[in-house]
């Protein structure tokens, strides 16, 4: 048996490796069954006692994809246009905004990069124009003399860094959220893919991922100015050219509502810093009306309107949110916050977040609060106002708190977001998939059953058609499936639903190599060769066909892997593992068995 010693050694080595990699999965499965059989209390106790061990095991097992175990798959995109605006900072003017809007529009339509489009639009307008008008950075040596190409390069670098930072921050937030085995990977130049197994609380996750955590402290508008603007804005929407006076009777207002587009959705108030309120579903409509430039002009120059984060009152079963008038200027931002923790209000027992500021922040905070005693200060996060408490007295210790939170879960998430740091630019959800755990279970069962049924049919068919040869191929086939599992476990691959389909398909295709060999052996036998000679030439003559066929299939699997995302990658991996394992088992394992039977035992093998 010259040469077969090495082959046997290889087979044994692979088997040992496979068992080594699959053992934790098997152990974990046993463990889970044991836990399932326990009583509720005993189970909690047991899991707590063995937490570290189970956790350790889980890291080594064959992981199931989100489509099989349920969870959320979210693709986030960094808003590059906002990043560009952010980088330009104080230099932003109307022309800049116009260029950016056009670039963004174009990038969206033709599916190109915003940065490239931005530079293009900029140069189209005026070839001589220099982008250095808008961008400065001492650290990166971007000055007034920088060329457009240098700035484009710099913008790309900045975006790259921003995506990196975003990944870090998102990871930080997800870790604090407490998901087991989250996966966060970068995709392309401005996207990240977040996979959260077992998570189904979609709304909470969305807020967690999207929030830029831009915390701002702003002064509020002068109530009289605000009220005056409100009257003028309502008058602006009046179909009849009358002056609008809030002193009018409310009954009349009801009538007005029918005709005034703004009043159809909006309840004007003009009390204190509250501009007015609208039901949650109508806020988008109100935004559309109020954001018009000619309406914005009716507001005091330094004032902007922001919605409250939480409903202020309820009417006819609908929640109403209020628009608050705040100064455009931001007094303090979240980066001065050094510590934040969830607490409860001593009097109302409502959840809140208390924050501590650094020295510099505390100094500004003391000055701002000291100068505005008796006036409200708005605390805004990501463009919505959480609270606007009236300053009772100067605050010197750098302490402040965010009240007006809906639940303690919200307080926790907020602390999480504040402490993870602010995102460089907003992240938009461009794709999202949530699978419930029950669907996954049904899929696993269906996939497993069909794999088993397929295996049985193929096994019997091979024995029927190729007799002893077929039985040998069947041994190889079963080993092949174990190998595939082992390879998947070793590479920490994730088993997805298409992946299971890939394994089922491999069962059908794996016997191909053996079919090729056996048919060749039959041919050689027919040509009059002895069994041993026929087997020899059967294996060697079919080798080139087997290799070519498998290499080409492997290449398509590689392409599938590099272009596909999520579940498709899983399919590609199982296909690759399947090809590698089936080549090994169909060529080497069957050969060793056949050689042992014919040469050692002098048995005769029937190939049907």
């Amino acid at each position: 048996m010259k040469g077969n010693g090495t082959k046997v050694a290889f087979i044994v080595a692979f088997l040992v490796l496979t068992i080594y990699y699959l053992f934790p999965s098997f152990q974990y499965w046993l463990e889970m069954r044991k836990i399932d059989d326990m009583e509720q209390e005993e189970r909690v106790e047991y899991i707590r006692a063995n937490e570290a061990r189970i956790e350790n095991m889980r890291e080594k097992i064959l992981t199931l994809g989100l489509d099989l175990q349920g969870g959320m798959h979210v693709t986030l995109e960094l808003a590059t246009n906002q990043l560009i605006q952010e980088l330009a900072g104080e230099y932003v003017d109307d022309e800049f905004n116009e260029i950016l809007a056009t670039a963004n529009q174009r990038a969206r339509e033709s599916n190109t990069d915003v940065i490239a489009e931005f530079v293009m639009v900029f140069e189209e307008r005026d070839v001589e124009a220099r982008m250095s008008r808008y961008f400065r950075s001492d650290a990166d040596n971007i000055t007034r003399r920088s060329t457009n190409a240098e700035i484009q390069e710099w913008l790309l670098e900045q975006r790259d860094a921003a995506v990196h930072r975003a990944i870090e921050i998102v990871r930080n937030r997800v870790d604090r959220f407490g998901v087991t085995e989250p996966s966060i990977v970068r995709q392309g130049n401005n996207r990240l893919v977040v996979e959260l197994p077992g998570v189904t609380d979609e709304e909470r996750v969305r807020d967690l991922l999207r929030g830029t955590a831009r915390l701002e402290f702003r002064l509020t508008a002068d109530p009289d100015d605000l009220r005056h603007s409100l009257e003028r804005i309502i008058a602006h929407f009046e179909p009849h050219e009358d002056e609008f006076d809030l002193e009018d009777q409310w009954e009349e207002l009801d009538q007005e509502r029918q005709e005034n587009p703004l009043l159809q959705y909006f309840i004007p108030q003009g009390q204190g810093v509250t501009f007015g309120s609208a039901a949650g579903v109508d806020t988008a409509q109100v935004n559309q009306l109020i954001r018009q430039p000619d309406v914005q002009r009716l507001l005091p120059r330094d004032i902007t309107l922001m919605w409250t984060a939480n409903p202020q009152f309820e009417m006819e079963g609908r929640n109403y949110y209020s628009l608050i008038g705040v100064r455009r200027q931001v007094e303090l931002t979240g980066d001065v916050v050094t510590e934040a923790r969830p607490t409860f209000d001593q009097h109302t027992n409502r959840p809140e977040v208390s924050m501590t500021m650094n020295r510099q922040g505390a100094r500004v905070w003391a000055r701002v609060t000291g100068a505005n005693i008796g006036r409200p200060i708005a605390i805004a996060l990501d463009g919505v106002i959480y609270s606007y408490p009236v300053v009772q007295g100067q605050i010197t210790g750098g302490r402040s708190s965010i009240t007006g939170l809906a639940s303690s879960a919200e307080a926790e998430d907020l602390v999480n977001i504040l402490m993870s740091g602010a995102l460089p630019a907003p992240l938009n959800i461009v794709q999202e998939r949530t699978v419930g755990p029950s669907l996954g279970e049904a899929s696993i069962r269906a996939g497993f059953n069909s794999a088993l049924a397929g295996l049985i049919i193929v096994v019997f068919f091979m024995m029927f058609y190729y007799r002893t040869g077929g039985a040998i191929a069947d041994i190889a086939l079963v080993l092949n499936i174990i190998f595939i599992m082992g390879i998947l476990a070793a590479f920490n691959a994730t088993l997805t639903l298409p992946g299971i389909a890939g394994i089922v398909l491999t069962i059908g295709m794996a016997v191909d190599a053996n079919v090729l060999i056996f048919d060749r052996i039959r041919e050689e036998l027919r040509a009059g060769k002895s069994l041993i000679a026929a087997i020899d030439s059967g294996y060697s003559n079919s080798m080139s066909a087997i290799l070519d066929a498998n290499i080409t299939t492997f290449l398509t699997a590689v392409i599938l892997f590099s272009f596909g995302v999520g579940p498709i990658k899983g399919f590609a991996i199982t296909l690759m593992a399947g090809i590698a394992a089936s080549l090994f088992s169909a060529i080497i394992i069957t050969r060793v068995i056949v050689d042992w039977m014919t040469k050692e035992k002098k048995w005769s093998i029937s190939y049907g």
Binding site: V430, T434, G436, L439, L516, D548, L560
Partner: protein, 305 residues
Amino acid sequence: MRLFETANYTIIPHRKVGYIISGTLILLSLVAIFGRGLQYGIDFRGGVEIILEFEEPVGVEEIRSELNVHLGTLPNIRRLGVGRDMLIRVDTEMPTSEVQRIVTSTAASLYPDNPSRIIQTENVGPSFADDLRNAALMSIIFALIVIFLYILIRFKKWSYSAGAVAALAHDVIITLGIFTVLHGIVPFSLDINQVLIAAFLTIVGYSLNDTVVVFDRIRENSLIFKTESFDKMVNRSINNTLSRTVITSLTTLFVVTILFIFGGDVLKGLSFALIIGVLLGTYSSIFVASALLVDLQQKTRKNIA
């Protein structure tokens, strides 16, 4: 048992029949694809897709008209399996949470005694869908190019590459055509989505497998039967490998058919594509790849002579 042991069919001389069948199928497929348009799934067209599971089966029409009122757009609704699961697709820019809220409240008010819950949600932004579509198209084109080059390197003649790639394109186009025609007629999803692209590339891989086996035999026989004319030798090679071609196709067909029947709703589209792919792949390796090889070889020989 031995099938096709002494197979000696006259295939290559009758290749015109194959050309006519394939040509007609491709033409019909192209008419369907350009006429009806490819029926994209959620990941290639964007929008929001929700699978709603009821306790008891419900009718599609009621939900559709009711949702139309609340969503402000006509949703695409399809029954999955026995009718307890509803697949609801909405082309909207509305936030997912809003669509989910509308769907659950509509279902609850429409069927107060038949509780339902959302078991899967998918939301794809329009530009992201474009990206996925481009990536899918690129992967198929890229696969064909790589295969062309690999075969060129292994078989040293571009006519082998052309024959193989033509057979693959043939398989993909006809499968796409069948999917487009049957979409909405059969009771399972035939949306063209990412999973289906995976199926297409697998079909490409499988069909190529068959083709390469035949080509390999042609290469081998061309060294043995040097005096035989090329078309006779190709015919001989096809017959030599016929047994293997049929057996492998059979075993693969077994498993994909089982997957189709028992694999659950999610894998129906994928396994259906694989069934068609295995059948087409087996056919095309003989009637398209080998037949074209003969014609291309004879043409180049004439040119040389």
